[in-house]
Every structure is written in C-alpha cells, then in structure tokens.
C-alpha cells in the first residue's frame, strides 16, 4: 500500500530533526576524547532532557498557532518551588513533587485563560504572565539555595542497568503519558485544527477553546517537569534571569528545528525533543572542536536561521501574492 508514504510525509519534520540530531551526535562522539562511554551519553542526555521538556511545552502551544514566552519563567519558578518542598520521607517527597507539578499546571491554566477567554494575543499575554511568574520566583529564591531529596535526584539523573540514562527513560515515559494521549484525543486534534485553520475548525463544530486551553495547561505542566529536573541536577533553586530567557528562546529554536510550523497545525512534540537534543549538541560540538565558547551564540544562530529558511521554502510556490500576507 501507499500508506507508508503518507505516514512519511506527515512525519517529515520530525524525521528531519531525528536525522539532524543523529548526524551531529555521531560527529560529536567520534571527535570526543573518551568516545561513546556511558558517562558521556548520560551527561548529554541530562542536558538535552531539560531543554527537551521545555521545547515540548513550547511545541504544544505553537501547534495551536500561538507562542508561549513564559515557558522559561515557569521552568525557573517551579525550580524555585521544588528547592523548598522536595525533602523528607518518601511520602513528603512525593507530595512535594505533586505540588511542583500543580504549580506548573496552574501557570499554564493562567496563560490559557488569558489567551482564550481574555482574547489577548499569546505573545503579549505570555510576556506579561511570564514576568509575574518570574516575580514570584524572585521572591522565593533571590539567591541560589535550597535542598532536594538527594536519593530521588540521583536516581533521576543517574543510569539504569549501568548504561541507560534515567532521564531518557523519564522523557520516554512523559511522551507516552502526556503527548501520545493528547495527540490521539479529540482535544489534541482540536488543538491542531485550531492552529491550522481556526475558521474551518469552528465551522466543523470542533471544540477549539478546549483544545487550545488543554495545550496551554499541558505546556505549563511540561515546563514544570522541566523545573523539577533542573532541581534534580543542581540540588538547588535560583531565580535566574538568564536561565529563564535562554530556555524560552532555545525552546523556540528547538521547536523550529524539530519541524513544528510556527504558523500552527503542523509538527509534533517528538520532533521538538529531537530539535532540542540537536540544538544542545551544537554547543557540545564547539567543545570537542576546541572552539572558543564565545563563538557558540553565533554558531547556534546560523544553524537556526538555516532551519527556518528551510521551512519557508513553501512560500516560493504561492501563486497569488496576497497569500503571502495572510
């Protein structure tokens, strides 16, 4: 059957992201002094997972043709909250984790409510809400500090069976529990439909508002899981401006690299994950080639621009020039 071809066309963006990542990772490993050791893989996995979680969050919102400039601040806020509550006996620790995730959900729900029911543009709404989230984070942790249940943290950042990074397993579990059901549910399809053509979706009786709201809420949750992992890696919390803005911007870059269309309706969170890993590997490549770290932003920028131009090729085929502006 021709089925596999349609599947291939649908997954094109994701597959390109996977290919970019694999190519980069091979170059990285083959030039690394230590080569492919469990340690090297684990470090790369841990760094990549953080950005991957935030990029997944961004992807959910971008699919609805929105953008979430508060993902980085939700990430930082939940990190600050986690540095207080994830301590004590297993029961208290579990309650702490639940609280952190709840904070993430709540942040996402606030964004969703402002965008959908307040009818503000996503870009403005999330700049505003992001500033508020960061303000709260600053009050919690103006200076680095706090603790975390180290047994849990080490389990989450270590290796399982001696070679498998636990963070990757967690990432796979999150995809299976959050992304796959979303993608396969009516709500998820409504989010895609709203991003692709909101008017057509409305005319077809699609629950647009619920779909978009769910996308924002889950984005908050994923950014919150990211904050949780950040706490596991650093054993502390800090309201850092640079983390917040870096992760927000990098999440957009990762989403674009991952084949998610900024016009909405196209792409998947899995693509965004590979986009994130690929973007992280760019930084590591600089390291193995012994290039000055000062070159990193320039290098990353060039890669990003190339990826974006690749996505804009379709505009060359437009036959009515007025469609460029729609």
């Amino acid at each position: 059957m021709r089925d596999w071809r349609y599947w291939l066309a649908e997954q094109r963006g994701t597959l390109i992201a996977v290919a970019i990542f694999i190519a980069m990772f091979i170059i990285y490993i083959s030039n690394h002094q230590a080569g492919l050791t469990a340690n090297v893989v684990n470090t790369a996995a841990n760094k990549g997972t953080l950005l991957a979680l935030v990029a997944m969050a961004q992807a959910l919102v971008v699919i609805t043709a929105g953008i979430d400039l508060s993902v980085g601040t939700i990430f930082v806020l939940t990190n600050c909250v986690a540095s207080y509550v994830i301590t004590g006996n297993p029961f208290e620790t579990a309650a702490g984790v639940a609280l952190v995730l709840l904070v993430g959900l709540l942040c996402g729900a606030i964004n969703g409510a402002i965008v959908i029911y307040g009818r503000l543009q996503p870009i403005v709404a999330t700049i505003g809400s992001g500033a508020v989230f960061f303000g709260v984070a600053l009050m919690l942790r103006p200076l680095p500090g706090g603790t975390v249940n180290e047994t849990l943290a080490d389990a989450m950042t270590g290796r399982i069976f001696g070679f498998m990074p636990a963070s990757l397993l967690m990432l796979a579990a999150i995809v299976a529990v959050i992304w796959v059901p979303f993608r396969r549910s009516v709500i998820g399809r409504a989010a895609y439909a709203a991003g692709s053509s909101e008017a057509a979706a409305y005319m077809s009786g699609v629950p647009i508002r619920r779909g978009k709201f769910a996308a924002y809420v889950l984005a908050g949750l994923l950014a919150g899981i990211g904050g949780l992992f950040l706490t596991f890696f650093t054993y502390s919390g800090q309201a850092s401006t640079s983390s917040a803005s870096t992760y927000t911007l990098f999440s957009i870059a990762a989403v674009v690299l991952g084949g998610v269309s900024l016009y909405g309706g196209k792409g998947s969170a899995v693509g965004a994950i590979f986009g994130a890993f690929a973007f992280r590997t760019i930084g590591d490549l600089m390291f193995v080639f012994d290039l000055d770290a000062l070159w990193q932003p320039l290098f990353q920028g060039v890669i990003l621009l190339l990826a974006v131009s690749f996505g804009a090729i379709g505009l060359l085929q437009v036959r009515n020039r007025l469609e460029w502006f729609r």
């Binding site: 649908e10 399809r189 057509a200 005319m203 269309s261």
Partner: protein, 512 residues
C-alpha cells in the same frame, strides 16, 4: 384541510447586517426525499438563508422549526446535531489534517477516550465510497489535494454525519465534469433514501437535471416556489430580477461607431483554472463593466492585471505595447499608470488605525518626497485637493481612517489613487456596503474621470450599476468572458440571463 408538517420550516425570518437587509420575512419549507433548488441573483439572500439554517448566524426575527418543533441553533455544531449538514462554498476543511481526520472531525469514533484510528479509517473509507470518491486516499493530507478533490472530501465529510438535511452551496462549482456526474448520482440516491437536499447553484442545467422543487429569492424574500420543469428559463429570469431602480446615473456620452484608441488590452490571459483566455480592450474615456455572478473570475482578472498573481500566461498591452506587470509597483509606475480600488477596503485599501492624511498619501509617497523625506507642504496641498474633489467628510486629516463612515472610507481609498492621476482605473466592487448618496457621487466621479480620458474597468455585483455606469459590460462565467453587451443590449434581463449562461438569453427582448 390539514397540511402535513414539513421536516424543516422557517417562517418570517429576517436578518440585517448594519443597515443592509439580507433577509426580510423569508419563508422556506423543506421536505424529505426531495431536492429543492434555491435560485436568486447576487445579494438575494441565499447565503444568509443557509447560514441561518446551519447555525453560522442567528436570525434577527422569525422562527425555525424541525418536525413542527421550534428550534434554534447557537453554533454550527448545534445545527449538526439536529441533522443539518452544509457543504459550504468556502471550504471548511482543515488543511494540515489528513482526509480521514477531516471526515470524522465533528464526532470522531473513540475507544478508551482516545480517537480510534482504525474505526476512523473505516468511517472515512465508507464516506468516500458513498460520495463516489474512492480515488482519494484517507491518509492523504488535505493541503496536498487539488481543489476538486477537496470538494469531494467536503461532500464525504457531510455524508459521514448522516444528516437528514444536506445543503449544497455551489458545491459543484469546483468539480470536474466527471465528478459532477458522480455527485449527481450520489445525490439522487440520497434523495431516494429519504434525505432532504437543498441545492444552491447558478448552473441552470444542473438545476434542471436535479431539482424537484425550485424556490426563487429576490431582495431577501422568497418570491416563488414551483415544481421543477413548469417554468421556462425566461420566466425564472423574470422572477429573479424586478428590483426597483433606486439610483440616479450620470448621462453617458454619445459615441459613434469609431473605435476609441485602446489604452489597456489583454490577450489570452489565463491563470490556473480561474481565468481562461481573457481578451479585452479598454479605450481612453471608456467605462467597461465586468458582470456575471459573483466569483466567476472577475476579481482574479483585476488582480492579474495589477501584477498580484504569479504564473499568468497571455499578454497585457498598454498603449499597444506589450508590458510585463510583475507587481503593484510596476502597475502604478508612470509607464503603466494603473490603480486598483480593492475589494476589501478594510484590509487591502486602508490602514485603519493610521490617520486620514497618511492613508491619502500612501500611494504617492514617491511623488511627495525628496531624498526620502516627505514634503509636508506638498502633501497638504495634494490632500486638500482630494478632500475637495471627492467631498470627503472628515473631522480632520489627523483622525484615524477607521473613524470615518464606510462611504467616506471608500472615498479615501479612491482619493489615494487619484492623487497619482492614473490612466487606468480598476475597481473591484467599490460600492459594496456604502450608502446610496455616496454611491451616486461615485457614479458621477467615474464618469468625470472617464470624460477626462481615464480608462476604467469596473467590477460590480450590482446589475443596475453596471447598466447605469458602463459603456459596455463583459459578462463572466466560469473564468471566461461569455458575452459582451453594449448600448441597448444592456438590460437587466440580458445580464442575468448571460450570467446564468442561458443560451437563449441572447435573443430575448424584454421590457424592464
């Protein structure tokens, strides 16, 4: 005598958009097992009628009844639930989803709370088969399908909802002839199964083949309902026209047979399947109308001439010399001297939040500036001249253009182009939604510009206007010019008949 209760009925339904009445106390009864055709010229209220039936807009007054029970639809989803499915003229498909995703979009089959992809595939295949479109793969992305295939998906999508009433709004206009045959046999089968079908089309032969009952709309009211085949095409045209003349038009100059020197000509102009071999010429001082039903390629012609469409074939000549107009910048250049008054003044004509002054000057900034700096004094003089010429009523030049009335906004759009003294003026339905007084001013202005030597190409959906303003009218049908009417031939009857592509329309002489 007792009457059977119709499946669906609307009584006394009215709808106004601003000051324009779209429907005025309209009645309609829909019976199962019957194909009912809705006829009417542009603006007769057909599309408002189906928008109300399918829950897209709410009526201002009147009642809808299903099986004799009053109903009201708050959204398209509500109308769907009640068993009314509509195939819209503007496609309602979501481009980035697959064909199967689209077909089941209103109510996907579910299993454990998630969409059951296998069941979805089955439903989609079944619906495509019922629509006679087995050639479309359910996994294909809608965005990758050509227009005619998308239209078939749209039909399959409507059928998958198992509606009791199916509305087809110009649903056959994008189809190939082979598809039309297939769709017709599908529709006839559905009728035999007891479905009620409402069929809106401007193709008289299609109506003759399909319809059991025809209802004619005029000026927002249903004026006649008759069993199909009991009236001649001529009778139908008579029923569709008959609007009161409310406009006053300026006198047209009397011309001999001597041909005017052509300023704008095009030869065999084609673009995708929307424009087919358009050849025309407009002389200096001539007002040429573009007629026909809405959406037959008139807009595309104006856009093509103005350099907006890519991949046009054919020739455009200005003053007898071939030119290649590749963008609006070339079109407005001194050598060509073209201006386009666009269809939608709010998005393509004006920058609503910016001031009247800025809007007036936008097209002429190259002429009003030196070394890139705008000459404020020259700008003021030019603006004042335009305000006077067009009698634009504004509280000042510095208020936002969006604060003006519709008529005055349209005057600003026209003024901004007149500042360049264009030799060729293209107008895309410029009087839509503006008041009668301003309309008359525009008619006089057009004639004055023509008298001063401008060549004008004027598209209007209002037949009165075309008759009153134009020296000649080219009637479009399906992307091609089907007829040219001039002088005494320009009657509303002839315009409507040729717009419907009725072959006999040519010979009939009718009183108006």
């Amino acid at each position: 005598m007792e009457e059977a209760i119709p499946l669906f009925q609307m009584t006394g339904v009215s709808k106004r958009y601003g000051g324009v009445r779209a429907l005025e106390a309209a009645d309609l009864a829909v019976e199962p097992g019957q194909i009912q055709a809705i006829l009417g010229e542009n603006g007769a209220g057909k599309s408002t009628l189906i928008k109300i039936m399918s829950g897209v807009v709410a009526p201002d007054a009147g009642q809808l009844m299903m099986h004799g029970q009053p109903v009201s639809f708050a959204s398209p989803a509500a109308a769907n639930k009640a068993g009314i499915a509509c195939i819209f003229q503007e496609l309602s498909l979501i481009p980035d989803l697959s064909v199967a995703d689209n077909i089941v979009i209103s109510d996907p089959p579910k299993r454990f709370g998630m969409i059951d992809r296998k069941a979805q595939r089955r439903v989609a295949e079944e619906a495509l088969r019922r629509a006679g479109a087995e050639d479309i793969h359910p996994a294909a992305l809608v965005a990758d399908l050509p227009l005619s295939r998308r239209q078939m998906v749209e039909i399959a999508k409507a059928l998958a909802r198992n509606p009791r009433i199916l509305i087809l709004d110009e649903a056959t206009s994008a189809l190939t002839a082979a598809d039309v045959t297939k769709v017709f046999s599908v529709l006839k089968r559905l009728r035999a199964d007891g479905m009620a079908l409402l069929f809106i089309s401007h193709r008289m032969n299609e109506i003759a083949e399909l319809a059991d009952v025809c209802t004619v709309f005029r000026n927002g009211r249903n004026v006649a309902t008759y069993a199909a085949g009991t009236r001649t095409d001529n009778d139908v045209v008579e029923m569709m026209i008959g609007r009161e003349y409310s406009h006053v038009f300026p006198a047209k100059p009397l011309r001999g047979e001597a041909a005017l020197p052509p300023v704008l000509e095009c030869r065999q102009l084609s673009w995708t399947n929307r424009l087919r071999d358009i050849s025309l010429s407009v002389g200096a001082g001539e007002v040429v109308g573009l007629g026909g039903l809405d959406g037959q390629g008139q807009r595309e012609l104006l856009l093509a001439l103005f350099g907006v469409l890519r991949g046009c074939t054919g020739k455009v000549l200005i003053d007898g010399k071939a030119v290649s107009i590749s963008s609006p910048v070339t079109a407005r250049s001194h050598a060509v001297g073209m201006a386009l008054i666009p269809e939608d003044r709010k998005t393509e004509g004006l920058l609503l939040p910016m001031s009247v002054r800025e809007n007036l000057s936008f097209s002429s900034l190259d002429r009003l500036s030196r070394w890139g700096i705008i000459d404020r004094a020259a700008e003021q003089i030019a603006n004042d001249e335009m305000l006077q010429l067009l009698e634009i009523k504004t509280a000042g030049l510095d208020i936002p253009a969006g604060a003006l009335s519709g008529g005055n906004q349209q005057k600003v759009v026209i003024a901004k182009w007149l500042m360049r003294n264009p030799r060729i003026i293209l107008l895309n339905d410029p009087t839509r939604g503006i008041d009668v007084g301003t309309k008359q001013e525009l008619y006089r202005l057009l004639r004055r510009l023509a008298d001063r030597g401008a060549s004008i190409l004027f598209y209007s959906t209002d037949y009165d206007e075309l008759i009153g303003c134009c020296d000649r009218v080219l009637v479009f049908y399906d992307g091609a010019i089907r007829r040219e009417l001039a002088g005494e031939e320009m009657t509303e009857h002839a315009l409507v008949a040729s717009a419907l592509n009725i072959p006999g329309g040519k010979a009939t002489e009718v009183r108006v």
